[in-house]
C-alpha cells in the first residue's frame, strides 16, 4: 500500500508516526515542518494506520462532511487541493476557522450535511473525494445525498458510528443495514472496523455506481 504524496511516516521522539506538512493545529508534535497525525483522534488517520486506501491523493478536490473542529480536515487540507469543510454545530466552528486561517484551500461552511442544496451553490461538482464523519442517524442517506458532488470515479471515505445510528442494536447489525443502504448508490471497495483506534466504528471506502 502506498501513502499519497504529502502523507509520510516520520520520526517523532523516536517513534514512527503518520504526518502531513502544515501549521500545527491541536498541539501535535512538529518536526521539520511535518506534523504528526494522531490516528486515535482521526478516523482517516486510523484508516491509513490499518492499511486501508481512503483514496486521498495530493491536490485532490475534497468535500469533508462533519469537519468538527478541523483536526482531521487540517491534515486533509495539507495534502489535498480545494477542501470544502461542512460542519453543522456552531461551537467547533471557531476552531475550524483558525485552522482555515493558515490554509487558503480550506473552505469552512456552517451548513447541515443532510441538506446539500444549502451549499451546492458553493461546493463545485466533479470532486475526487467525499470524506464523511457525521455523528447523526442516517449516515448512509447523507452519503447518498452528497453523491452529486463526486465525479464518476471519485471516492467516498465514510466512518459510520454504530451508536449514532441506533444505540440499542448490535453494531454488526447496524453496519450491515448501513452498507445495504449505501449500496443503492455506491459500490463498496473496502470496509473495516476501526478498532483499536475507534471503538464501534466502521470505515468504508466506496465509489459511485
Amino acid at each position: 500500500m502506498a501513502l499519497p504524496d504529502g502523507v509520510q511516516y516520520r520520526t517523532f521522539d523516536g517513534e514512527e508516526r503518520l504526518a502531513t506538512r502544515g501549521e500545527a493545529v491541536y498541539g501535535e508534535p512538529v518536526v521539520d515542518g511535518w506534523r504528526a497525525w494522531d490516528a486515535h483522534r482521526s478516523k482517516l488517520g486510523a484508516m491509513y494506520e490499518l492499511g486501508m486506501e481512503p483514496g486521498l491523493d495530493a491536490g485532490d478536490r475534497v468535500l469533508y462532511l462533519g469537519a468538527a473542529n478541523g483536526t482531521t480536515a487540517s491534515h486533509v487540507a495539507d495534502v489535498a487541493g480545494p477542501t470544502y469543510a461542512v460542519e453543522f454545530a456552531a461551537r467547533p466552528m471557531r476552531d475550524l476557522l483558525s485552522v482555515a486561517e493558515t490554509r487558503g484551500n480550506l473552505f469552512p461552511l456552517l451548513k447541515d450535511a443532510r441538506n446539500p442544496e444549502t451549499y451546492a451553490h458553493v461546493v463545485e461538482n466533479g470532486l475526487d473525494l467525499l470524506v464523511q464523519d457525521v455523528a447523526t442517524r442516517g449516515q448512509a442517506r447523507v452519503a447518498r445525498a452528497n453523491q452529486r458532488f463526486l465525479h464518476d470515479d471519485g471516492r467516498l471515505c465514510l466512518a459510520i458510528k454504530a451508536r449514532s445510528e441506533d444505540a440499542t442494536r448490535e453494531p454488526d447489525d447496524v453496519f450491515a443495514d448501513a452498507l445495504d443502504d449505501l449500496r443503492e448508490g455506491y459500490e463498496i471497495l473496502d470496509s473495516r472496523r476501526l478498532d483499536p483506534f475507534h471503538a464501534d466504528h466502521l470505515a468504508v471506502v466506496a465509489t459511485p455506481r
Binding site: M93, L97, E101, T118, A120, H121, V122, N125
Partner: protein, 278 residues
C-alpha cells in the same frame, strides 16, 4: 437553473451573505463558471475569494448562532425552574390528597412514582394516580431541560460554564439578560445578580449591602467560611465576569481561568485577609 454564490457579485463585495443565504439544486463547475462570468480571472483568484467569503460567512453565522443560543438558554433555564417548582407543588398536593385516603402514603416525587405504578381502584384513585403522573412528567421535563441547558450553555459560554457550572452559568445569563449584557456588566453587579430585592432594600437604607446573589450556590461561596465569604464572592464574580467577556468577544476556551480562580480561592481561604479588610 441554479446559480453560484458569486453570481452578480461586485468586485468589492465579499459575498459572505450569498454563501450563507444561497442555495442550488445541483453543484456545478463553479470555478469555471466564475471565470466565464468574469467575476475572477483565474482559478487561483477564485479560490482566494471563496476562502474569504466562506470564512467570513462561517464566522458571522457562528456568532449569530451563539448569540441566539444564549437566549435559548435563558428561556430553557426559566422553563426548567418552572417545571421543577410545579413538580414539587404537585407532589405536595398528591401527598396531601393521598394522605386522606391511605395512612401509609408517602411524600415527594419518589412517592408519586410509587403511586403511579399502582392500579387505581376508585375514581378518586384514578385522578390521584393521574396527578402523580403529571408530577413525574414535570420532574422528568425539568431534568431534560437541565441537560439541554448544560449542553447549550457549554457551547454559548464555554468559559463561564466551566467556572460557574452550567446551571449557575445559565441562571447568570438569564438574570443578566444574555451573554452580551453580562459581558458589559461590572463584576460588582454580577456579584449580586439575583439579589435585587436585598440590593434595593440596601439602596433604600433598610438593609446592609448584599454580599452575593445567585452565585451563593457556587461551592467557592457557600463552602467558604462566613467571614471570608464576601471576599470569595467578590473574587468569583470577578472571574465569572472575565469568563463572560472572553466567551462573548473571543470565544475560545481558556483553562487557565479555572487555575487562576482555584489559586485565588486557596489564598482567600488560607490567608488572613477577611471581609472587613478586603
Amino acid at each position: 437553473m441554479s446559480e453560484g454564490w458569486f453570481a452578480g457579485l461586485a468586485t468589492d463585495q465579499v459575498g459572505a451573505e450569498r454563501v450563507r443565504e444561497g442555495s442550488a439544486d445541483a453543484p456545478d463547475a463553479w470555478p469555471d463558471r466564475a471565470i466565464e462570468a468574469g467575476v475572477v480571472t483565474s482559478e487561483e483568484a477564485y479560490y482566494d475569494r471563496l476562502h474569504e467569503a466562506t470564512t467570513a460567512a462561517a464566522r458571522t453565522a457562528m456568532e449569530e448562532r451563539e448569540r441566539a443560543d444564549d437566549q435559548q438558554v435563558i428561556h430553557a433555564v426559566r422553563a426548567m425552574d418552572d417545571a421543577g417548582r410545579m413538580a414539587n407543588e404537585l407532589a405536595e398536593r398528591v401527598a396531601e390528597w393521598a394522605g386522606s385516603r391511605d395512612a401509609a402514603s408517602g411524600t415527594g416525587i419518589d412517592y408519586c412514582r410509587e403511586l403511579a405504578a399502582t392500579d387505581p381502584a376508585e375514581p378518586a384513585d384514578e385522578r390521584l394516580v393521574s396527578l402523580a403522573e403529571r408530577a413525574i412528567e414535570l420532574d422528568d421535563e425539568r431534568d431534560a431541560l437541565e441537560r439541554y441547558v448544560e449542553r447549550v450553555v457549554r457551547d454559548a459560554a464555554p468559559n463561564l460554564a466551566a467556572l460557574a457550572g452550567p446551571t449557575l452559568a445559565a441562571r447568570l445569563l438569564a438574570l443578566a439578560g444574555g451573554l452580551d449584557s453580562m459581558a458589559k456588566t461590572s463584576s460588582s453587579t454580577v456579584q449580586v445578580l439575583g439579589a435585587e430585592e436585598a440590593l434595593f432594600a440596601h439602596l433604600r437604607g433598610q438593609a446592609p449591602s448584599p454580599k452575593h446573589g445567585v452565585i451563593y450556590v457556587h461551592e467557592y461561596v457557600r463552602g467558604t467560611r462566613p467571614e471570608k465569604r464576601g471576599s470569595a464572592a467578590r473574587a468569583l464574580a470577578g472571574k465569572l465576569t472575565i469568563a463572560a467577556r472572553i466567551d462573548h468577544y473571543a470565544g475560545d476556551r481558556r483553562p487557565s481561568l479555572e487555575a487562576d480562580l482555584d489559586e485565588r480561592m486557596r489564598r482567600i481561604r488560607t490567608g488572613g485577609e477577611d471581609d472587613g479588610a478586603a
